[in-house]
Each structure stands twice: as C-alpha cells, then as structure tokens.
C-alpha cells in the first residue's frame, strides 16, 4: 500500500503544495500559477487538486498533510514583537490579529475544510527552517552535507545552520528575529523603490551599475556583521516590526532622503545602494559559509531560504568559499517549504531510508502540470488558430532552431511546468543571444518593461566552461549561480560605447554590447547561468543542440513565459493568450508551431487590456 504525503505552504506568501508517494516526488506547484495572482498566499486548493490529480488519488487517500511551519510559535513571535514595541504598532496588530483568529490559529480545521470530509489522514507541522533545510538536503545529490538556510523570517529563526546525513537532518544553530539578512536586503529593496518580496532580484540586477560607496555606512550604523556571518541589526533604523514600512525616518536621514517612489527614475544613488547592500549580502553569505564549513567539516553544502535565490552571492560562495560543491533548492523561497515539509515526514518522521540520486532528486524541478499534444491540438482547433504540427521531432527542432537563428522570439511550452520562481525551459520565452536587438525586443515588446537587466543564458552543459568562468561540466540547472562571461567572448568597448555607459538612463547602458552574446551579458560581464543537459531537459536540450548545429552558438536566451506582473503561464490557453497579446514571433506548444504572422486577422488580443489584468511587480 502506498503512503501519500501532502506538503503545504500557505498564508504568508507563495503558497504551494507538493505530493510524495512512497517518498517519490509526484508533483509540486505554486498556487499563483493556477489563480493567476502573483505570490498568492491563500490556501493552495488548486495546487492540491492538481497534485492529487497527478497521482490519480483524492484527498481520502492522503495519509499525512504537513504544514511547513508552526503557527503557534509564529504567533508567539508576533505577540512578543508587538509587546516590545507597544504602544506603537497597533495599526499593524489590528490587521494581523483577525487573520490569525479566523484562519492561522485554526489550520487543522481549515485544512480539513479545504480537503473535504474524505480526508482521514493526520495533520502534522514542521518548523519553517526545518522545512527549508529538508527541501535543500533531501533532494540533493549528497549523502552528507552541511545545511545553510538564509531567509527573512519563519517562526523565530531568520537563518539556520545544520547538517544532513543519510535520511536525517538536524538544525543546530539559528539567528533569531528581528535580526535578519533577508529583512536587511528587503529594507533596501523597499528604500530603492522596488516591491518588497518580489523586487529583491531587481535590486541584485541593479547592483552592477553602482559603486558600493554605502557599505561603511551600512556596517557602521545599520547592521553589524560578525566573522561567523551572523547579523545584528540596529532596529532604530527599521520600522517593519511595528509599522507599515520597512525603514524608519532615521534610515532615511542616514541615506539622505526618503525612499524612491516606485516606477520613478532610478538615480545613481539607488545603484550605489544596490551595489552596497549586495556587497554586504555577499560578505555575509561568504562568512556564514566559512563558519558552516568550520562547524561541520563537510565538503558539500546545501542551501535554501529566500536569500539563497541571490545567485550572485551563491556564485561567489562556490568560487571563493570552502565547499567542493553546493546544491541549492530551486524553489528556495517559501513555496519550497511545502516540499521540504513532506520530505521531512517521509524520511525523518517515518524513518524511511534515502538513496541520493547522483543528478539530484528534484527531477529538474519539472514537477507541475503537463498537457497532451492531442489536447493542445484540440484547443488550437477550437480557437481557429493557424498552426503547423511536426510529430517528427527532428523537423520540429530544425524549424524552431532556424526561427531562432532568424532572430525570432519564440514562446516555448513543453512538458511539465517548473516548480519554483524560474522558467527552466518548459514555460520559457527563448531567443538568439547573439542578436544585439534581442534584449530590447524581449523587454519592450514581449515583457512590456523597461528593464536594466539582461536576460539569463541557457548553455549546453558540455560548453559551460568555454563560455563562462565555470568548471568543465559544472552543473547549474536551476539558474541559481552567476558567473562571468569568459574574456574570449567579451568585446572591447568603443569610444561611443564608453560614452553611452555614462548615460544616466540604464536602458541605454544595458543596450551596450559587451560580448558577442549581448542579450545575456550584464554590465559587469556577469550572467545568470542555467546549464542544460540531456538527462534533465530532454527536448529542450535537443533544441539547443540543434541551435548549436545551425549557428555554432551553445547558448540561448531564456526568460520566463509571462509579461511583467503575470505569473508564469501554466496552461496552453494562457500561453496562447500571452502569445497573442505580445509581439512574440512564434509559439511552440509540444509538436505545434504557431507563427504570429500567419494567425487569422480576427484573432487579436488587446495588449493594453492584457497588461491591465496584472498589477506591476
């Protein structure tokens, strides 16, 4: 008889569900992909329904449902925070308490209600950082590894150190709220005018434009960083414990003015602040990494938590840190907690052994819904779309590779949807990185944004060391490492380029070609690398091989299949709508190829209307 364990994360941000059958990951997905509401924190009822459907079971077959954190411990932290700051903080308290009274303190009832009367299993709870740690260690390829989780906050812990061995993990040390690297980074995200909890990666992308001239100010006033990578914050500079902003007036005074208004012009100050907090973050991650290594003596490290999505810091830790190898959970944020919670029950609570997969147990993080080619064909017929169908994969790949070589932007919808924040080649928009126009076209005509960040490259793993400063065959399948583009691919900037690099408008600077792969090369020659291999990526790998055969280039541009503010597409309908609303040239869904130019004139979707249906992130 099979044992089914459902992991759930919800009611904070990025709710998700993950299902295990006898310890095997059957399915995992974030709720936002189904509700089309970015970072949806509500109970993941659609994700749960999908996971159960993928396993062919209903809620009655679930043996355990595991929630990814302890609500009562978190409630204790909230109460103590408000007590500490009383009489300040009532406004925030007034918003927090009703949701706790109605939902979060009654989670078992809520779960029963959502799953229906059929559910007869048991409800368990794990710690927030235990869930992160489990999500990092259990799917990793290591039999034994040190664990580092870096987050904003869970219950009390804001980061933790532990070790994993065999089928057990232990979380041994932690830093406690309110002292948090994640919170510190989010405070600067807020101050520089980006959305907290989603704009952190933009700040990371902004950093290369600036000089870290505020580091001393940060370390001398706002935060104290110990040699062991622990962080202590001077709370007088922050307002997140009691107020509705991240930073206080004292913070504004220290950095010379109020926070930047969202969507307003980005000045050199924001760039320098970005560079400064990024430098601090990298320093903390490196110090914490060395400390973990000292404590555990282990040669491999696994990581999770929101800060583990900082791929620049990850890249430095791998290159400069003491570990031989690092594995990072691709759904490193709270969504990944659902998977970790389920895995901890299977291995640690129920005591089942674990045999690490030499590749890893995450299955390329392709754990979401897939759609049959026949169903896609039926859907396209129902819309009246014009398409080509290539059941012969060779012909299909040849067609797509040639379209890309002609600088066409292609929507690529294949197989199972990704679990985690990154599109890894199944719900992706892809293009030719050699094209000097690709970056602008993708940003303005497809993503509908004026971005200062280049796109991420996908590289055939066998070529990774030839294009980037990485080791031969080094794995980065989840786009969680940043590495420099090798010198031989870089170009020398002309006088005109140098002049454009001084332009206050970042869109001008990012458009300066710094390598023969301009669409993926940042101003500091770095790139957020995803390696693509045959084992994990199947058809996507074969497409890249074909593109390489056609062009000699082992790299393509990969960005998520969505527009700004929209969750990544999940279904063929959503992909088709996005294709129609944007200026994508082609859409490939399984064996079906659609060209924009060939679509009937009566099929149109108003781009403005489409954009308006998603709020800016």
């Amino acid at each position: 008889m099979s044992t089914y364990i459902l992991g759930i994360s919800a009611y904070y941000h990025d709710s998700a569900a993950a299902l295990l059958c006898n310890g095997e990951i059957v399915a995992a997905a974030q709720e936002e992909r189904f509700t089309r509401r970015k970072h949806d924190p509500r109970f993941p009822r659609n994700a749960v329904r999908y996971c159960c459907g993928e396993a062919g079971i209903d809620a009655a077959a679930l043996d355990y449902v595991v929630f990814y954190e302890h609500p009562l411990v978190k409630f204790e932290r909230l109460l103590e925070t408000y007590i500490t700051y009383a009489p300040s903080g009532f406004h925030s308290f007034r918003k927090a308490l009703p949701s706790w009274a109605r939902t979060k303190l009654r989670l078992p009832q809520k779960i029963h209600k959502e799953l229906g009367d059929g559910f007869q299993g048991k409800i368990l709870f794990t710690g927030h950082h235990e869930s992160h740690a489990a999500s990092a260690f259990f799917p990793s390829p290591f039999a034994e590894a040190a664990i580092l989780t870096l987050d904003a906050v869970g219950e009390w812990a804001t980061s933790s150190i532990g070790r994993g061995s065999g089928n057990r993990i232990s979380v041994e040390y932690e830093t406690k709220f309110p002292h948090s690297l994640g919170m510190l980074y989010s405070a600067f995200t807020y101050y520089t005018g980006f959305k907290v909890n989603s704009g952190e990666y933009k700040l990371m992308g902004l950093a290369p434009y600036g000089e870290p001239r505020y580091v001393n100010k940060i370390l001398g006033n706002v935060a104290t960083i110990r040699d062991d990578g622990s962080v202590w914050l001077d709370m007088s500079y922050f307002n997140y414990c009691q107020g509705e902003t991240m930073t206080s007036a004292k913070f504004d005074e220290l950095f010379g003015g109020p926070p930047r208004d969202p969507e307003s012009f980005i000045t050199q100050k924001e760039m320098d602040l970005g560079a400064s907090i990024q430098a601090v973050c990298e320093d903390v991650v490196l110090r914490a990494g060395r400390h973990v290594h000292q404590l555990t003596g282990l040669k491999n490290l696994v990581m999770a938590g929101g800060v583990a999505l900082n791929c620049v810091a990850n890249g430095r830790l791998l290159r400069e840190g003491p570990f031989d190898d690092i594995w990072i959970q691709p759904a490193a944020g709270d969504a990944g907690g659902a998977l970790g919670a389920a895995l901890i029950v299977w291995h640690q609570v129920l005591g089942h052994s674990r045999r690490p997969d030499p590749t890893d147990g995450q299955k390329g993080s392709l754990l979401g819904p897939a759609f049959r080619d026949d169903d896609i064909g039926l859907f396209l017929d129902s819309t009246g779309a014009t398409y080509e169908c290539h059941h012969d994969e060779d012909r299909l790949l040849d067609r797509v590779a040639r379209l890309m070589a002609e600088e066409k932007v292609v929507g690529w919808f294949q197989g199972r949807m990704e679990y985690g924040p990154r599109a890894l080649g199944c719900r992706s928009i892809i293009g030719d990185p050699r094209s000097p126009r690709m970056q602008q076209t993708m940003n303005l005509k497809i993503k509908f944004r004026e971005s200062f960040r280049p796109f991420a490259p996908c590289v055939l793993r066998e070529y990774v060391d030839q294009v980037f400063e990485m080791r031969p065959e080094e794995d980065s399948p989840y786009m969680l490492l940043v590495a420099p583009v090798r010198k031989e691919w870089r170009t020398t900037l002309s006088e005109d380029d140098e002049h454009r690099m001084a332009d206050p408008d970042l869109r001008v600077r990012v458009a300066v070609a710094r390598s023969t792969l301009p669409a993926i090369t940042h101003v500091d020659y770095s790139a957020r690398v995803q390696t693509v291999d045959h084992q994990r990526h199947g058809r996507f790998y074969r497409l890249m091989r074909r593109f390489h055969d056609v062009t000699g280039c082992p790299v393509i541009v990969n960005t998520s299949f969505n527009i700004r503010g929209e969750p990544i597409v999940c279904t063929p309908e959503e992909a088709y709508r996005c294709f129609l609303a944007t200026e994508m040239d082609a859409l490939v869904m399984e064996d079906h190829v659609l060209l924009k130019a060939e679509q009937p004139p009566y099929i149109r979707l108003d781009a403005e209307q489409y954009k308006a249906s998603y709020s800016l992130d």
Partner: protein
C-alpha cells in the same frame, strides 16, 4: 459577519427580499400581538405575503438596500474588530510576562548571533511532527490553551475569548496589506 455576494445576481436580490419580508412580517406580527391589535399569525402571513410579492416583482429596486446591508455589516465589522483588537493590544502591553525571546538591544561586539536551536517540541508538542500523537482533527482552542503556558506565554490564554470574537466579527474579505511592506504575519 454576514456580507452578501457582490455584485448581486437577481436570485440574490430575491432571496434578500424574501428574508427581509419574513423578518419585517415577524416584527409587525410581534407589534400586533403586543398591542393586541390583530391576530399575530394572520398579520404575519398577510404582511409577509404582500412583502414577498412586492420584493419578488421589484427585486431590482432592492439593490440599493442590498448594498446598504453590506456597507452596514462592513462598518460594524471594522468597528468591532478595531475595538476587540484594541482590547487585546492593551492586554498584550499590560499583562506580566516571564521572559521574552525578542532581543532588540545590541550584544557585545564580539558575541556571535548564532544560538543553539531551541527545540520546538516543548513549545508546540501538540503540533509536533509525531504521527503517533498527532490528532486527526485537533481543536484549536485546546491546542492554544496547552501551548500558551509551555511557551512561557501563559498570559496569552486571556486572549482566547477575544480571538473567538474576532473570528465572528472578521470580514469575509481580508484587508489587503501594503505592497511595500514585508508583512510579519
């Protein structure tokens, strides 16, 4: 609190009219009985019938009243929630506590901020990942009462009735949190 579906469909308006008619008929019948003016049952039947007929045929005109109901419920809900939260907040600030885990003051310059992980089993054993002891459907109030003293927050038990009230008065739709804030809850 009971908020009605918005925007209403015709069936919603008719159901709302029906309910109003029943309540209105009952009030008039009660008055008739108190004043001994007429047979209360007959009065209730007649008044309700007329009201039902009117509300069903003029359902669209009820939309205004329907919307007012939601506004009134929301207004009451907000006031009640604020008042109850205020009481809880005052209690949090005033009641004595044994020890706090929250640390705001700086430590000495060389002290590490890494601390040995505190076992959560003593704090939240009712929710611990132990399948043998995990209940299939634990009662939240009982869990809360067991948790509060063990976490060193025995005083938090006094919040329990207010939490119950808050769940009664809470709005069906939660207030959106500011997008620029990292909510702690």
């Amino acid at each position: 609190m009971i908020t009605l579906s918005a925007p209403p469909r015709l069936a919603h308006l008719r159901a709302f009219g029906l309910l109003l008619s029943l309540c209105y008929g009952a009030v008039v019948a009660l008055l008739a009985w108190m004043l001994r003016a007429a047979n209360p049952v007959l009065t209730w039947v007649m008044v309700t019938s007329v009201m039902v007929a009117v509300s069903v045929t003029t359902a669209q005109q009820l939309a205004w009243l329907y919307k007012r109901w939601n506004s009134l419920v929301r207004w009451l809900s907000r006031r009640a929630t604020t008042a109850i939260s205020g009481i809880c907040f005052c209690m949090c600030a005033a009641l004595p506590r044994n020890e706090m885990r929250f640390e705001r003051k700086p430590r000495s310059a060389d002290a590490s901020n890494w601390a040995k992980t505190q076992s959560t089993s003593s704090i939240a054993d009712a929710l611990s990942p132990d399948p043998a002891s995990a209940s299939k459907n634990p009662r939240w109030a009982r869990t809360y009462i067991r948790w509060a003293p063990r976490s060193g927050n025995g005083w938090a038990i006094v919040l329990l009735p207010f939490l119950g009230l808050l769940s009664l008065f809470g709005e069906d739709e939660e207030e959106p949190v500011p997008v620029q804030n990292y909510t702690l809850f």
